[in-house]
Symmetry: C2
Subunit: 356 residues, 2 copies
């Protein structure tokens, strides 16, 4: 593999000194970019795009051609693992993801496929290898997965949900079955992420999109515990460096201290958390990733710059901050506003990294 | 007015001793009850139901006939004020509320009606008076309003929203215009709630449903500040007692200490907050209301009882807790599960109020 030219992102995740705050955006390969929409059209469905290594690589690279991002992220879906387990993932146009089957009983659980990520999710590993080749050391590549709890919500509900009635009823009334499903998912996710590292991923992010729907006690029991289990099974290194893992629980701001103990090197925070408060609470133990409101990108470039300045100042001096949005970029954003965002991070952050 | 037979709810809000923890549910007059669905059908549209004092009273009383709730809450909509301001509220079947007009410019703002709640929202005051008569002192009546920020989100977006693109763009790019709208709303809400108290409301709740969509700084600037302004303009007393005000910001768990300083006597917390943590942070200053996950009502009666026990134990001994869900009850809940919920609070809470 070619040598890494920009390791700012990896260094910040390990709280090692950097020259400026690294930046990338969740969902940076996405619908706000006209070139993404064109490639997506060419691919056919969203899943066709995920399963075509060349096209998945193409959309992964697109934001890097426009913006000096410090990391690339594998283009894929968070529901590839449940799909491989046999649930039959599909997308209805204009709606969220759906599964043909659900898991609501011990029999449903027993009927899931036994999977090996290298074989059953080889299309993802092909995409990782293709992207690494294409990146040619420009920036590191982030691999990712949904968290066990987040995957379980879709598998039990059969798709997106507003109140999580089915999955929560299972968690509350059949905790043993729920824990069996979560254990199975934790093992599958650990295998999946480990395979991504073998294929070339240099950092990992676990997206716990729906952990924030749980109560404080439920979060620890059904989500955090299984992310911990995933992390404990990951390889320690990637490409001869320590492998950094980022955990991002949307809506997890009240539980930062527990999250910081889960074994991850970095904790993602959404925009409802004051980053200065977060640094005070957990910034000596882990790096922080975030946390501009994605809707700020609808505002003027000048206002975006002011917000970037406020977040940089909130985190303060020193390493341990990866600039990002507090959630994925919204489809309707003007791509020029992303330029303002990334430029502001690059222009305003070096002062926080000068050794005085 | 007839004397109040059960003042447990009012006393707990003021952290005065009670014999057991009072309980009610947000949206307790609602679709999970077959008798509500029948009355709603009889009324015609949802708005027709809100505007008919006799039928609004009927649905307010329905949950009290089934369950020994310690409070009634006015049946109405949170968007009555923007409707009176001239935006034209309507409901599409199966969708959320919509407005015929939006407020996105200084001209839109200037075009709003000047309103006086006693006249322009007399149908709400009629409902309050009718319900008070019908309650006949059984339990206190809660009046309510949406918070200025929550009302503004619907007025600027024209309805519900996923990312609040328009209202946040206004807040970020035209903060002066946003503050003008919020000031106008704070005054209208204060007048509306004061009129409800004159008509017979004995406690008030401000529903800040969308305050949690803001950043930590944005919440203080655009939501909390205006709830504070509303509260500062409310009468001190209702029926010769101190008037308690509850502020409920869904998703506000990270900001409890600021919320506790807004002038309200009680703070509502959703189910993502550990009530023991909340009591430690602000329980010496304000009462707490909450906080069972509404989805817990899908679980078995036995599991519901275990959860009630855990929350009671989390709050611990003494007054200052009003039991509630962490958000409105979900339409699909079995009404018998609500019986299990209310019974558990009544049976398990007296031990926390014994003077030893």
């Amino acid at each position: 593999m070619s040598e890494l030219k920009n390791d700012r992102f990896l260094r910040a995740l390990l709280r090692q000194p950097v020259d400026q705050t690294p930046v990338w955006m969740m969902r940076q390969a996405g619908r706000y970019l006209p070139e993404y929409r064109a490639t997506r059209k060419q691919a056919g469905s969203f899943l066709d795009l995920c399963k075509n290594a060349e096209l998945a690589c193409e959309v992964t690279m697109q934001p890097l051609r426009r913006y000096p991002m410090d990391a690339a992220i594998l283009f894929s879906d968070i529901l590839t693992v449940p799909d491989a387990l046999g649930l039959g993932l599909y997308f209805e146009e204009g709606e969220g993801p759906r599964f043909r089957k659900t898991v609501r009983s011990a029999a449903d659980l027993a009927g899931l496929n036994t999977i090996v990520a290298d074989d059953d999710l080889d299309y993802v590993m092909n995409a990782v290898r293709t992207i690494r080749r294409e990146l040619n050391g420009q920036v590191p590549l982030i691999g990712f997965s949904g968290s066990p709890w987040t995957l379980a919500t879709y598998m039990v509900e059969g798709g997106s949900s507003k109140d999580f009635a089915h999955v929560k009823t299972m968690a509350y009334d059949q905790p043993e079955l729920m824990h069996q499903l979560l254990s199975l998912l934790a093992d599958a996710v650990a295998d999946y992420l480990s395979a991504q590292v073998r294929a070339g991923a240099q950092a990992l992010q676990i997206f716990d999109t729906w952990g924030g729907s749980l109560s404080a006690a439920g979060y620890k029991e059904f989500s955090l515990k299984y992310m911990q289990r995933v992390i404990s099974r990951l390889p320690a290194e990637a490409d001869g460096r320590k492998l950094p893992v980022i955990v991002f629980t949307k809506g997890g701001g009240q539980w930062l201290q527990s999250i910081a103990d889960c074994g991850a090197q970095a904790v993602g925070i959404d925009w409802t958390t004051d980053i200065a408060v977060a640094r005070g609470l957990i910034g000596e133990r882990v790096a922080l990733q975030g946390n501009m409101d994605p809707s700020m990108l609808f505002a003027s470039p000048q206002r975006i710059r002011t917000e970037v300045a406020a977040i940089l100042s909130g985190f303060g001096h020193g390493s341990g901050h990866v600039f990002n949005l507090g959630h994925g970029i919204t489809p309707g954003v003007n791509p020029d506003h992303v330029t303002a965002f990334v430029d502001a991070v690059q222009e305003l952050s070096p002062q926080y990294h000068q050794v005085s």
